[in-house]
């Protein structure tokens, strides 16, 4: 009890408080001017890009992940399902530098697919570069889609067979079931998983850093430059951005917890 509290105080609470302090620390006074850095083109672009990247990959992760999860749940045998989920969980955990390496081999300037399309004459010039926002989306989807599948699985298992049967004895078909019961019951879980995917990509650093390097305009990367003590990067500005990120994530997580409670109430109640 006590060692745990002490440890948390020193290595968790203190660092967060330091960030907060740095973000409002002025020359002998308290100031909110550091937060104005967010309006500078560099940071504003980073914020917008981070949000856009996260929204896009969370949305695409859900778009591809949800039907895949339904297929896993309803169309595969128990064994096939377990193998696929293990694979999905592995991919969901496989991020960062090795992921960047894998995609460079596949889609880099001289990657396998790039060369295949080039050699076979499908393209005369390469219209696509992996080292870009688009490339980053492709990499993020590598863990976002499987992550959605793994996260939504328990919710799918929570949908009770009797609901479907009740609908059919009341004269309703599969379509009515999904419109009136299936999707509405799943909706808090879907939204909750979307939030987790968003947060997962909003804070991600390693994958982007390994692929597109330290100059790319994403919030985590811009903040990391200040950590590394690079000249021209102001720890106060970085702290202000960090506070904005933490606040955003806190709001999202509290919303997530509410959604999860709602779903638990529905499914167990």
């Amino acid at each position: 009890m006590f060692p745990f509290s002490l440890f948390c105080a020193v290595f968790l609470v203190l660092p967060v408080m330091t960030i907060f302090w740095r973000s409002i620390q002025g020359e002998g006074t308290i100031t909110f001017s550091h937060y104005l850095f967010l309006l500078r083109p560099l940071y504003l672009k980073s914020l917008v890009q981070s949000i856009f990247l996260s929204l896009l990959t969370a949305f695409l992760g859900m778009l591809f992940g949800f039907p895949a999860a339904l297929a896993l749940q309803h169309l595969l045998s128990h064994r096939q399902k377990n193998i696929s989920i293990t694979l999905a969980a592995t991919a969901a955990n496989f991020a960062g530098v090795p992921l960047a390496v894998a995609f460079m081999i596949l889609l880099g300037l001289n990657g396998f697919l790039t060369r295949l399309l080039f050699h076979r004459g499908f393209m005369s010039s390469v219209p696509f570069t992996l080292y870009s926002f688009t490339g980053l989306v492709l990499l993020y989807l590598y863990f976002q889609i499987p992550l959605f599948v793994v996260l939504i699985m328990p919710a799918l298992e929570g949908l009770r067979k009797e609901w479907r049967e009740a609908v059919s004895t009341l004269g309703g078909n599969g379509y009515l079931y999904w419109v009136k019961v299936g999707f509405p019951v799943l909706s808090p879980a879907l939204l909750g998983c979307f939030i987790l995917l968003y947060a997962n990509s909003f804070g991600a650093y390693a994958t982007a850093f390994a692929l597109v390097g330290a100059k790319f305009r994403l919030l985590p990367i811009q903040i990391s430059l200040a950590v590394a003590g690079n000249v021209g990067y102001d720890p106060h500005a970085a702290s202000a951005m960090a506070m904005v990120m933490i606040a955003g994530l806190l709001v999202l997580f509290s919303f997530y917890i509410r959604l999860r409670k709602r779903f638990a109430l529905w499914v167990s109640g």
């Binding site: 049967e165 009740a166 004895t169 009341l170 309703g172 009515l176 009136k180 019951v185």
Partner: protein, 359 residues
């Protein structure tokens, strides 16, 4: 032909045979109850009737029309699930209206029908609640109203009262009976509680291991069980294993002779007699002079008394075997543990089941 019929239905899950040669006829407007130990195939029977499970063999017909291959949507048979299966995202109103939405009935009619049903099941004013905001008994009523809403031809109830507590259960039981009578709806209920089955039904179907053991009115089933299983599963019975001396009509429980109803025996050597505890009487040994000539008498000692309220149940040891005797009301007060007694019963109260000693 009966209103609802199951003919030679068989059903297995993998290698596990759940229903064997199952024949059942149900008349219009009747309240039928399937009763039997858990795992005997009651739920499976209901699911086959509802169309949620396909029988391997046999036919189901409703109003003379074979419906074996019909999907559940087409059958007009509603089911109340054991777990209720209320839709958690819909209000009470939405749950009850569901079957009417499926029929694309106009809004005003839906509203009127739902309000009417809320009135019938006694839930007026709760239409905007969600299922998780209701008590178990209220959820049960919503499930019932939901099943009744599309005006089904047959209502199926799977252990509808098993999930509510004892007091609510009794009240709901009465109400279920009343609603069924008022609407005149053909109903098939499943229960493992034999008392519930007796008190609520027009006809009782006793099942065991996927077979029907006996079908009859509650009184028939209770008073004239056709076999050992029914005698022991419905109500509570003493089982006296007796032996027959030679070819005579005389049988003996240990060395005590037992009189039976006339002409009730055929060739069997060993038999079991079933006697309900409430048909037995207790006497002091010295009171017995001048009793009717054919009354059966068994001397013993009271080992245990258990007070049940309306009756007191005595465990009487007769020659090393236990016989239970139920004594009503105040009469029981004069008997104590350790008393020497004589147990008496009339031959008319004995049910004979042949096939002897071994269980």
């Amino acid at each position: 032909m009966a209103y609802l019929e199951m003919e030679s239905v068989e059903k297995s899950f993998a290698k596990n045979r759940v229903l064997t040669h199952f024949n059942l006829s149900i008349e219009k407007g009747e309240f039928t109850t399937l009763v039997g130990p858990s795992g005997c195939g009651k739920t499976t029977t209901l699911r086959i009737l509802a169309g949620l499970e396909r029988p391997d063999r046999g036919t189901i017909s409703l109003e003379g029309v074979p419906i074996t291959d019909w999907p559940p949507q087409r059958r007009q048979i509603s089911m109340v699930f054991q777990s209720y299966a209320l839709f958690p995202n819909l209000t009470v109103f939405g749950n009850i209206a569901f079957g009417l939405w499926a029929k694309r009935i106009d809004r005003l009619t839906v509203e009127r029908e739902v309000m009417n049903l809320l009135d019938i099941v006694g839930l007026k004013g709760l239409e905007n609640r969600f299922p998780h905001e209701l008590s178990g008994g209220q959820q049960q009523r919503v499930a019932l109203a939901r099943a009744l809403a599309p005006r089904p031809k047959v209502l199926l109830l799977d252990e509808p009262l098993s999930a509510v507590d004892a007091v609510v259960r009794l009240r709901l039981r009465e109400e279920l009976k009343r609603i069924q009578r008022e609407l005149g709806i053909t109903t098939v209920m499943v229960t493992h509680d034999q008392e519930e089955a007796l008190s609520i039904s027009d006809r009782v179907v006793v099942m065991n291991g996927g077979r029907i053991e006996q079908v009859g009115t509650p009184v028939e089933i209770y008073r004239h069980p056709v076999n050992r299983f029914v005698a022991q599963f419905i109500g509570f019975s003493n089982a006296l294993r007796v032996e027959r001396k030679g070819d005579s009509q005389e049988v003996f429980f240990h060395h005590y002779p037992i009189n039976l109803p006339p002409l009730s025996l055929n060739g069997e050597k060993r038999l079991t007699l079933y006697v309900r505890p409430e048909t037995l009487r207790l006497h002091r040994p010295h009171e017995l002079r001048g009793r009717e000539y054919d009354t059966n008498l068994l001397p013993g000692i009271i080992r245990l008394r258990a007070f049940y309220g309306a009756i007191t149940r005595f465990e009487v040891m007769v020659n090393g075997e236990i016989i239970w005797v139920d004594v009503p009301g105040h009469e029981a007060d004069s008997w104590q543990e350790g008393d020497e007694v004589v147990v008496s019963f009339s031959p008319q109260e004995v049910r004979i089941i042949t096939g002897g000693g071994e269980q």
